[in-house]
Symmetry: C2
Subunit: 119 residues, 2 copies
């Protein structure tokens, strides 16, 4: 395993909402993603989803509340809970999930991305 | 689950090498820790260990090389690999491991800490 600098990785990413894998942790994957605008409502029935804000601001919309996150914030969406991230300014996130989790969960659609492996 | 700001959490931590749990992710734990000086050589036979440098600099000594990490770097120590972190200046780290992993792995000793749960 080589170290990876997440800022350096993200400096080379243009595409929004397209996670890139930067490391494996047992059967989990560590990913980074740039986000701007609104994603799609979805849930992951099989797993919690870890968010860490590297820079910028992102709001995790839940059905009963909004969770406003800024740089340095951690938030875990529990399994089965519907959520929809949105970002008024560009944000950079670290995501950690079990291998094979799809970004759009149960929703599918145009924002579903085959994840690029940068490890 | 509530969001947690890792800088705010660490501002209230004085103790070195004493991980604090800030979130659960399935059967994994997300922890933060302040480090300075040298830890103890150890390994975790049952799991990889995830390091993310929130601030400062830390070197993960392996038996065959040193991995020098700075702010924004990710590094995963593979399971079974002996390692010994050291920091010449204070560093703040995020660690992620399966629940119940002990900070000193197989080594034990005075630096072994019962982890405080801040979730």
């Amino acid at each position: 395993m080589q170290k990876r600098n997440l800022a350096d990785v993200l400096d080379r990413v243009d595409e929004l909402w397209a996670p890139k894998k930067v490391a494996d942790l047992n059967d989990y994957e560590v990913k980074v993603v740039k986000v701007l605008g609104e994603f799609v409502w979805h849930r992951h029935d099989e797993t919690d989803e870890f968010f860490y804000v590297l820079s910028g601001e992102v709001t995790i919309q839940l059905r009963d509340r909004d969770v406003a996150l800024t740089t340095g914030d951690v938030f875990v969406v529990p399994r089965g809970v519907e959520h929809c991230p949105k970002a008024a300014i560009e944000a950079r996130l670290m995501l950690i999930e079990p291998r094979g989790v799809v970004n759009t969960g149960d929703a599918g659609g145009d924002l579903t991305h085959a994840m690029e492996d940068l490890t």
